[in-house]
């Protein structure tokens, strides 16, 4: 540890900058990234304050490991009150800006106030300046990054920025970095836009000095050698996470046509990963300090999008959400991803809405009169692409989506709400069908930001692993039957704490047991901590840090008045599948409520999901907000 574990506070209204060092005890309790962001948000956001109030902060946090020699500690976390849902909001992305922020002398930035004209922050070697962004305002996310690097005269400046969507306060606008990286969900780009903050540019030359350099090298060597021999590493190194499409579509775990089906036969011969690898993928790229390189650089060589070059996409937006909108054209899917990257729109939320509109069209709830003549038949590329333009330009049917789901439902009316699948916290679902999950259903839907596979999806639930292997991972006997309701509360809890630790240390979840049973767990992460510091931390203490982070995020939502009903998945998941090999499978409300009881009890929460006083004392949360930072 060096002098980079600091928080920079910026008030864009008054141009004041304050810098505080993070006490070691807080680092030990919350690490960094998501953890310290959660602490800062709970301490700095005021109860009931609207997300777009200038005093509602947007917080950036590099992972505790970011910038150090560790495997894939590339993640940065962005937190704030969500303009999309009005409750806890946060999102996490890779790239190289987390490490750069540490080299520039900061682990976190807390940004408040509203600038009187467009600005960007220039964070460099321990200093924070506000720079005029009038000429950059209006640019897409690629143009803005290139322009800022040119303006600052250094191609190695790392930039996180918003596109036109964030500027125009689309409530699900995201924050972008490089060509592919996105802090996607819950509208953190909208928060930046509301502060007239176009970008955060970072460059630093300060090194990070681990407590035990030789030990850190040895841990890195050991973990690298292990990692590179695993099957999952070698699959991901070639096709990225696109194998998940094969696994999940064959397993009928995805949303097809807005959750009406779970299998997409039209994809055969069209969305195959082999086709992408043969005809589109040209190169693999990686986030900082990651050997796995899950990211593709692709090139569309023919058809209406010929000449388009882009990066990504991830299997979720590129494939899963193609199925969600009935789209079996890979070039359309790639082009749409590229457009969302440039505009700075969360592709998940946007395509969820498109799927919704297409089902409304199918059911004749909306017609050409509503769509301005656009045909919303399943998979129609024109409807998919035009909706995106409309969202960003705030015009037509797409325009009403930019204000969020409540406004859209109110404007469309006619019983349309039934077909927009949102979790209890108001966030639209992702693309995974929770009818067939048990641990994941409760794990994802108790997430502080609303349904989130990156907070509580238990991939291990569906891998048919031997019970002994599961017992070794979860530390207690768990039921390997994916449809069983037994022991699933613990599986969800364990994964949630692991995810919290990943997002706080900055380690990508693709390196961990969230992704694959043979990858890293608490034990491996704590090895790195004990080389970076003299804490002699145990994996139990690290897991407790995960629990503390999970609880302080919960406290934020409890303070906003959220409770049990906000942890319930949308009604669609309680309607059994009507067809396919999983016909008849669905969540059952009674069973889900029982599972929720068990889950709350495990966490030390009351029946409404509020942490009990003894739980807060045990986790040293009873004095929060303590305003140490």
């Amino acid at each position: 540890m060096g002098s980079s574990e600091r928080v920079g506070y910026v008030d864009l209204g008054s141009n004041e900058v304050t810098i505080k060092e993070i006490p070691e005890q807080l680092l030990r309790q919350y690490l960094g990234g998501r953890g310290i962001n959660a602490y800062l948000l709970y301490n700095h956001a005021k109860k009931g304050m609207g997300p777009l109030n200038p005093e509602s902060p947007v917080i950036l946090g590099a992972g505790f490991f970011s910038g150090y020699l560790t495997n894939a500690a590339s993640r940065i976390h962005i937190s704030g009150k969500s303009p999309e849902t009005g409750v806890y909001g946060d999102s996490n992305m890779g790239g190289s800006i987390a490490a750069e922020l540490k080299y520039a002398g900061f682990q976190h930035l807390v940004i408040n106030g509203q600038a009187d004209k467009p600005v960007y922050l220039w964070v460099h070697d321990g200093e924070i300046e506000t720079k005029d962004a009038s000429k950059i305002w209006g640019m897409d996310t690629y143009q803005a990054q290139v322009r800022i690097c040119e303006e600052l005269g250094d191609p190695d400046v790392k930039v996180a920025c918003i596109g036109q969507a964030g500027e125009r306060l689309v409530c699900f606008a995201n924050v972008r970095h490089l060509m592919k990286k996105a802090a996607g969900r819950t509208g953190m780009g909208c928060l930046m836009g509301s502060k007239r903050l176009k970008a955060i540019a970072v460059r630093g030359h300060q090194g990070l000095i681990p407590k035990y350099p030789d030990k850190l090298l040895k841990v890195f060597e050991k973990q690298s050698n292990f990692l590179r021999k695993t099957k999952i590493f070698n699959i991901s190194a070639v096709i990225g996470n696109l194998f998940a499409w094969i696994v999940n579509s064959e397993g009928e775990r995805i949303s097809v046509r807005n959750f009406q089906q779970g299998y997409f036969p039209e994809a055969l011969g069209k969305l195959d990963i082999d086709i992408f690898m043969r005809d589109y993928s040209e190169k693999k790229l990686a986030c900082y300090s990651c050997a796995m390189r899950c990211q593709h650089r692709f090139h569309i060589k023919e058809g209406p999008f010929a000449g388009l070059i882009g990066e990504g996409p991830d299997w979720g937006p590129g494939w899963n959400l193609a199925a969600h909108t009935g789209n079996s054209r890979l070039d359309v899917s790639l082009a749409v991803n590229e457009l969302t990257n440039r505009y700075g729109v969360d592709v998940v939320t946007y395509l969820q809405y498109v799927g919704w509109l297409m089902e409304l069209w199918q059911r004749k709830i909306i017609s050409e009169k509503d769509t301005g003549g656009l045909d919303f038949s399943w998979g129609n590329p024109e409807a998919i692409i035009q909706t995106l333009h409309q969202i960003v330009n705030k015009e037509g049917l797409g325009g009403i989506l930019s204000e969020g789901s409540e406004a859209a439902i109110e404007k469309i009316g006619r019983g349309s709400e039934r077909y927009l699948h949102r979790c209890g916290k108001g966030l639209t679902e992702e693309g995974l069908d929770h009818r067939i999950w048990r641990a994941s259903a409760v794990g994802c839907h108790t997430s502080p930001r609303g349904n989130c596979h990156l907070r509580g999806l238990v991939n291990l639930e569906h891998m048919f692993l031997p019970v002994e292997v599961l017992e070794k991972i979860f530390g207690r006997r768990v039921d390997p039957d994916p449809y069983s309701w037994e022991t699933k509360a613990w599986m969800a809890t364990w994964i949630q704490y692991l995810c919290a630790v990943c997002d706080s240390s900055g380690v990508c979840k693709f390196m961990t047991k969230w992704y694959s049973p043979d990858l890293f767990g608490f034990e491996e992460i704590v090895e790195t901590i004990n080389a970076m510091t003299d804490w002699n931390m145990t994996s139990e203490e690290l897991m407790e840090a995960g629990e503390r982070i999970w609880n302080i995020e919960r406290l934020f939502n409890v303070r906003e008045g959220l409770g049990r009903k906000h942890d319930i998945p949308p009604p669609i998941f309680f309607e059994p599948r009507k067809e396919g090999t999983r016909k008849g499978i669905g969540l059952e409300m009674e069973k889900y409520e029982e599972l929720l009881d068990e889950y709350y009890e495990l966490h030390g929460w009351d029946e409404e999901g509020r942490p009990l006083p003894e739980t807060l004392r045990r986790l040293s949360l009873d004095k929060e907000p303590s305003h140490i930072l």
């Binding site: 290139v146 990070l208 300090s289 990651c290």
Partner: protein, 131 residues
């Protein structure tokens, strides 16, 4: 002689080479103190590792005003004598491969092949840098 070779087509830009180098040479994690660095071109997706490849007839040796750089006739390695180097940067401008640079402290940095066991090569996941 055994030498460094670069295949930039497969470089992913992960920067593990930079981190490992700075840890081995400086005991800190700092890509700006690494003897190898990656030139990153976001829009082109190009990642170009820059490291000394010990030219047969190295122009840096010819321009060095203090004779701090010399080509070892036995090993073929271009060697830098830190005590003699005045960090003037003439070699940096002369190197056609942009393999030399100054550290944030203004000191010339040059790969010394880690005494025959280059650590960047050991950890490069795609063999973009080989020895």
């Amino acid at each position: 002689m055994r030498n460094i070779s670069i295949n930039e087509a497969v470089c992913t830009g992960c920067g593990l080479c930079e981190l490992v180098c700075s840890m081995c040479k400086e005991n800190e994690c700092n890509p700006d103190k690494s003897r190898i660095y990656i030139e990153r071109h976001m829009m082109e997706g190009a990642m170009i590792p820059r490291i000394c490849i010990n030219c047969v007839d190295p122009p840096c040796v010819g321009v060095c005003p203090t004779d701090a750089l010399r080509k070892d006739e036995v090993t073929g390695v271009v060697q830098l004598e830190h005590d003699v180097c005045n960090d003037c940067g003439e070699c940096i401008h002369t190197c056609p491969f942009r393999a030399l640079r100054l550290s944030p402290r203004g000191e010339l940095m040059k790969c010394d092949l880690c005494s025959g066991y280059p650590q960047c090569v050991k950890y490069c996941p795609t063999e973009a840098v080989r020895y």
